[in-house]
Amino acid sequence: MSRSYILCVDDEKSVLSSLKHELSRNLDKKCRFEVAESGEEGLKILGDILKAGYDVPLVISDQLMPGMKGDQFLIQVNQLDERIRKIMLTGQADATAVGNALNHANLFRFISKPWNPDDLKLTVEKALSSYYLEQSLDRKVQTLTLINRYAELLAGNLDLHNWLHTLTTNLLQNLDITHCLVQLFPESKPGEKLVFHTYQNGNSSPVLYELDAESLAARYPLSVLAHVREACELVYEPNLLNSDWSEDPVLEQHQIRTVCCLPLKANNRLQGILYLDSRLRAKSINEDQLELLEAVSRQASLALESIFLYHSLEQKVAQRTEDIREDHSRMSESIEVGSRLQTSVLPKIDDLRSVFPNSFIIYRPRDVLSGDFFWFGQSQGLYFIVSSDCTGHGVPGALLSIIGINLLNQIIKVQGLTQPAAILEELDRQFSASVTRTDSGAIKKEGMDLSLCAIDTQNRRFTYAGARQPMIYVENDQALTLKPTKRSINSDTQIPFEEVEVNYQPASSIYLFSDGLVDQFDSKNSKKFTIKRLEELLVLASKQSMLLREGTIRNRLDVWRGQTPQTDDQLLIGIQLD
């Protein structure tokens, strides 16, 4: 604590010396006495003491003096610094003067001459303790205000460099120090030390620099830093000349006088170290400031923890994004391969055209892989055309479509079944057997809708059987929708599949299609295309040559959809029967 003065003012030298004598006997040695023989002189001395930066806890003044009276003097003292305790001494009880001083000078006590030594001693002690109490409260409030300011500065800033800059430059500006250093031990990079420092640099504003190990060793006392790191306790040395640390050569070399070094610790983990020193003078950090620094270091530790957490989260997110991107590109690749495989399993349009030259297939998967598939085969003089729509689209749809194609090959080409209804029954049986052979029952719901047409070109006749999938027959500008049995392949319904036989006219056409076509929403996403519109379109298009027909239908579907996303996989097979 700095030196403090008690000022006594009286025009009688004997009074002054007896006051001085009595008080210095009883009081703390820290307090010194200054005396003045008039109010004017008292004000001048008081001004000088305050200007020099010393405390004046108490002024004792006589009332009756030549020149300035005691009450006037004390009022002016009060205006200079109202915290100063003021005691008035007087032989004559002048009520006006005492009242004046009480009201305007914030008088602490009035003592009449001659005084009782015990009374004087007690009063002065009380005045001093009241002054110091107020002073320490003031300092507490100041410290708290500062801590609060630092808390605001340090919280909510997630950019490490910016945060460090704020912390160190504020400390450098608010404290009487020359160097400030922060050493960090990030959890995500064990063993790695990040070191930043800043220092007073004449009048220019301080700049934050990163320090490498070599510069750190050259400029800062490693022994202090190591101690704080290992013991995880603060080192506060206001006077390094006579301390245990003076062996560290860096302290001597840079004439470091005051050192304060604190651990930054949150949740039992040392996040880093905050180091401050003064290379100008000893005791540049006092006890109050130490209290402030401890509070700041606690705030800083918490803030640092959230900064580290934030950055490690950011890194994790970036890593995860990268992982997802890799996964995605791996999956895209395998889906591309899957798509090529699926295409290779599907019949070629040229195979179909070698039998029915006027035919086309519109095949539009919603994703890369499709749950729709078509099949074409020839057996015992009949041509079999199948369009099918498996549950779902994408990968699961595509896998089911492979099963469907295999089973159709098996049933029609190997087993030699020719009746469409019988083929569907057999397909249902084998499909159920193969997809429910798994251990879990999860696949039970998987199935497919399908239409099958067996064409007998010799007798101009075709037989149709459908599993929840109709087909359209167009003859002489008339469309006839052939209704399917209301039963999907692999469903719980057990009504038998039915078939319809149609004797066709030359130049008539058949169209097999999946529901993705008729369920497609329009450009306003409000209406479905519907089977009615498809019928109308097919009637109109059937008047055109095959060359134009496919384009007309594709374009009509495109115009209908506009920018609306495709609802489902789409498939349309058109065959002109001659």
């Binding site: 109109l540 384009g551 374009n555 009509r556 115009v559």
Partner: protein, 132 residues
């Protein structure tokens, strides 16, 4: 997108010519102009638009009643199968019920009364065509 087509449908060739001339005069080369004298011809134009140009007519200007197998069904068919094509009626007849239906289900923009009244009709068409 390529230049779009306005389709005119009327079985009276003189009325057809006159309406087309009026449109050409006011909209010039902004559109392509096609005509049809029956529902069947109109359907062919729509198909050609679809197959060759990949688009539907931007607007159909049609008479109310026409001879032929499906003449009077033509408008209802349009409403059902091509609800997205805007429609202007050019007719001397009136069937308010069908008009309401066309406004609701099809893109009926407005009705032009026969005989042709230059100024008034062009004003209406200008407004209607803003919506196309």
């Amino acid at each position: 997108m390529s230049k779009r087509t306005i389709l005119f449908v009327d079985d009276d060739p003189i009325a057809l010519r006159m309406v087309i001339d009026q449109f050409k005069k006011h909209f010039g080369p902004a559109f392509r102009y096609e005509k049809a004298s029956s529902a069947q011809e109109a359907e062919e134009v729509i198909l050609t638009e679809l197959s060759i140009r990949g688009q539907l007519p931007a607007l159909i200007v049609s008479d109310w009643l026409m001879p032929g197998k499906r003449g009077d069904e033509f408008l209802q068919d349009l409403a059902r199968f091509y609800p997205e094509i805007p429609l202007i009626l050019h007719s001397g007849h009136a069937d308010e019920q069908l008009e309401h239906e066309l406004v609701e289900k099809a893109g009926l923009l407005c009705k032009l009364r026969k005989p042709w009244n230059g100024q008034e009709h062009i004003g209406t068409i200008h407004q209607a065509i803003q919506l196309v």
